[in-house]
Symmetry: D2
Subunit: 337 residues, 4 copies
């Protein structure tokens, strides 16, 4: 047999084969993926890179969060990342903040009647419309929760911002976090105060560049018809770019594509440095050329990543890979490994 390991093209180890057994922990699984290749190996890399970026004190972590992650059940996971100091700034969508607040004030998302996710796509959306239920893939949300959300914003959130001066969007997300906490505590709601609340409590800024593009934004606009409320589209870039400028080292942890991904990455265009770490979890295809599915190597050509940055893209459903990566990273950090 040849001495394969001596060839220059090869890595230091051959492909091992994942050893899968009862009772293994999630980090055991992640390490088994590391023996394997293709997508499994990418997950293993993602755990390695994420553990390094969140574990180093000198590294500022910017998280991008797109997709239906609160309806998907990732609300506690994300709130806990903020609470535990793993993330220093969060860029997300207005929809995420809307769904997060709905749960903070007592609303719930529901699984469809059928146990099988495949079947729930067969429900007639016209019928759901008649029953006052909004569908997000296999999740059903009663429209009345939006009414409660509107009251929450008008009574607890917007008045704190109203005034003659314009405010940045991040101020709104912070006030939302404060108000979500207050209502959640007052009414003792089991779901917990959630993402915006955790961000507010732990001084993690939440940036939401396209806030208009959500029910939260629609409500802000309706409120602004009669009251003084002006959101400055550009103001938040001060804070975000200052953080990027001040970072000794920087990491991008990107879940889904869209605006959150690009906004996290582009901040490096106006500071001298670039990301030292990059992880993205997405299933958007690269082949259409859009930013959402683009490889992080492409970002390197733009100077958004350092030439020697550690970066990895995991092409699979992030509702599956995000909990997996986070569980493994937490285990690794808890063990000091």
């Amino acid at each position: 047999m040849t001495e394969d390991g001596d060839r220059e093209e090869f890595g230091h180890n051959p492909v091992g084969h994942a050893d899968i057994r009862a009772g293994m922990t999630v980090d055991d699984l992640a390490r088994a993926y590391g023996d394997a290749s293709i997508g499994a190996r990418a997950v293993s890399e993602a755990v390695d890179v994420t553990a390094e970026m969140v574990g180093r004190e000198d590294t500022t972590v910017f998280m991008g969060l797109a997709g239906a992650m609160v309806p998907a059940g990732m609300r506690t996971l994300v709130a806990d990342l903020l609470r535990d100091g793993y993330v220093d700034a969060l860029v997300t969508t207005g929809a995420t903040l809307t769904h997060d607040a709905i749960e903070a004030i007592g609303g719930k998302h529901h699984h469809g009647r059928e146990d099988h996710p495949e079947r729930s796509a067969h429900e007639h959306d016209e019928q759901l419309r008649e029953e006052g239920i909004d569908r997000i893939y296999d999740v059903y949300l009663p429209q009345e929760h939006f009414t409660a959300f509107e009251s929450h914003l008008r009574e607890e959130v917007f008045p704190a911002l109203a005034g003659a001066e314009t405010v940045g969007i991040q101020r709104l997300t912070a006030e939302l976090g404060r108000a979500n906490t207050a209502v959640n505590d007052r009414e003792d709601i089991a779901a917990g105060p959630g993402i915006a609340a955790a961000a507010h409590h732990h001084d993690v800024p939440i940036y939401c560049p396209a806030i208009q593009d959500s029910v939260l934004g629609l409500q802000a606009w309706m409120y602004a018809q009669r009251s003084a409320l002006t959101l400055d589209a550009l103001a938040d870039m001060d804070g975000l770019n200052d953080r990027a400028f001040a970072a000794d080292r920087a990491g991008a942890f990107v879940v889904g594509g869209g605006v959150p991904k690009n906004f996290v990455l582009q901040t490096m265009l106006v500071v001298p440095g670039a990301y030292d770490y990059g992880v993205q979890l997405t299933m958007d295809p690269a082949e259409t050329g859009g930013l959402s599915g683009a490889s992080l190597d492409e970002a390197r050509s733009w100077g958004k990543l350092e030439p020697d940055a550690r970066n990895v893209s995991v092409y699979a459903d992030a509702t599956i890979t995000l909990p997996l990566v986070v569980a493994a990273v937490r285990e690794r950090l808890a063990s000091g490994a």
Copy 2:
């Protein structure tokens, strides 16, 4: 043989087989797709629905445009849609406006050296970085064009907006269109003035909710550090929602997902009506639950589409399907069919 056509489950016609021959026009091809099924049939439906929505005088058409559509070579196509009155409002990204302006003032996007798109992904992005070239899939853009773009904004665009008052983002896109036209005319640049210019000239508003999330937005922010420039994140919703409110009938023509898709769809949440027509061209998967790949039926449950709206989703690369649909629609309208 049975009389299949009498069964209730069946449509009125069996699957025909696409008759493909030399010299057929693009609408001939679209009609051949109509005999076929699966994705081909979806394209045929998309042509039917789009032709109906843009051909009816009583229908207001809102177009969402995401993805790397200017680098992909769709700049003239989109500008012509605006010029010819097929689109009444455009929602797009800051990146689209950035790349559009770069060409308006004389910059160019380049094919990679290799003829084969597959190979260009093999280029080393580190090397491109050293050479000052940004990569968008198989398209190369010299970074120096961003310098010219910065000068353009600082000299021709932003000063027109600076003042004590805040302005809506759509005002910026209109000024950009004006300035692009001016420079393009003055310097007689072959590429033509482009999308923002066509919108400005034909009074089609361009909405760009996440303008911060682009080089255009970064430049606006840098300018605002020293000069009075405040962009109001909410102001544009007046105009967009007014148009939706005033529409006898409304159509959504959505290319790619992200903020443009959702912003087009959500405007129906604050007016009594909903879309009568919906077409989307995307390759994002539906199965991850994100908005980008979601079916338009899902939007029906939210009340964004009328219960009896005609809607169709084409799951394929929009850089391929957009020109195809537009060519067929143009042919059909030209022939009065």
Copy 3:
């Protein structure tokens, strides 16, 4: 402005912008794609490479055909490619031959009741089962057609093969083509005799390596329970490999992945040469590492493509891209361009 065109990294032309107008032919569209980039450019390349490979007399073209292409309405298109000498050997699935034969003998595939492909997925498959209808995405096929197909095989096809000796699978596909023609002529069925018939009539061999994996194969197996019929799994490789060996130049035109793709490509592992041309039309993702979505560059490392082969992969729905590419190629060949 800089002289971008002098940079070594760049191709000879900048990205043009697709000029889309009423009445353009499909090849006009393909040429417009060639000015563009990303997926559009890939289609343009696919037309160029396909036109060259089918247009050269010295090139033997091997076509792989997977996916639901007959239910999708591509039966006439494929039959015409064989009839017109554009393809020298076809590798396909048993399902394709089954659906082709069902139409040859008078059966029909049906569009679902709903006009909108999106909605037809909402049909309850349990209900279809009760009604005796098989679903293929948005296509409905009455199960009774399989009964007619069984009679066809037992009366017209299998007896011609039965005997003491084993036969290759290609013999079965040829007999199927002969019998489809006979019944189609005799009963004057409008759908035409189809793919297997065209292959038989024009001496194009059809290879079907996984014939067992289809209703055709199940029927062959049932017949073989009582009659002497033995299909030799290996015998057809003689003919396929002889063709590859004898080819001055060789082209692979691959629609969909799976066994047809690999069987077309692997034949070059046992002859001195390799493919000079490679085109694939697929939407399977590359990132999972499977053969179906793998780039053709990967095949180059295996020696299945010549180092300087022209190759291109179009990642989009082949029910859309196949008719488009074929129409453009036919136009180009008809014009002698």
Copy 4:
């Protein structure tokens, strides 16, 4: 707040939020997915259904295995499923058996030189060709291993089959398993004897309908040029269909699409019953209409699944989801839960 749970459309529980913490086991993770929705919930369902089907003594489990699963590092996982009696019949590709045997006799698959899977796609495949290395996504395989594999087949495997009579393909896979074991034991090779060996030792038949479509098949063909070796394409259907007929209950566990998926499913077309359980792990899109990405509900219309079968499709990279599902199932079965 409303009593959401009383609505008929809703399942019995609202969407919980995945509780992700250090040290959780893989089944803890799977249960956390069960509180969530979209893809995460599908994984949880897949674990539930798989645990039920493999845990019931009265259920015969048919596994389909496609894709580059041995290069991906899943060889031990699959072999252990066979060894432990979780799978009663395996349908796979010739490539899987080829890569499995290469490791059994001492060959190795290698990670590319780069640590980052993203980068390894940037390697020039021409260079790999010159160095005699075959690439499978991010896995490198020295071509010399195919030479060793050829010797193995010619010396240890094919002679056992040669003779005047035809043999079924499953006989070949069994002889391969026997020979792999013999060489692996004799040469004390660390990688272990693998999948075919486990199948042989535990009397699990391996069906490989498209065996011609692989290096294994090419070698069989070359051997048959000079020696008597005839593989009967239809013979194996006796055994597979007998098993399906004899099963009290039946389950389909399908990894990847292609021939293995369809061959597992179609066997129910010739027996009275149908699958009571169906799980598929794939990332192929459903929207192109091909069998690989088709939902299992579609199979229900064909009668391949019982009307009340439990079935679930997980749309994500199977190199990630297969180890996850198997680890959780093993844990659940070990705990008796």
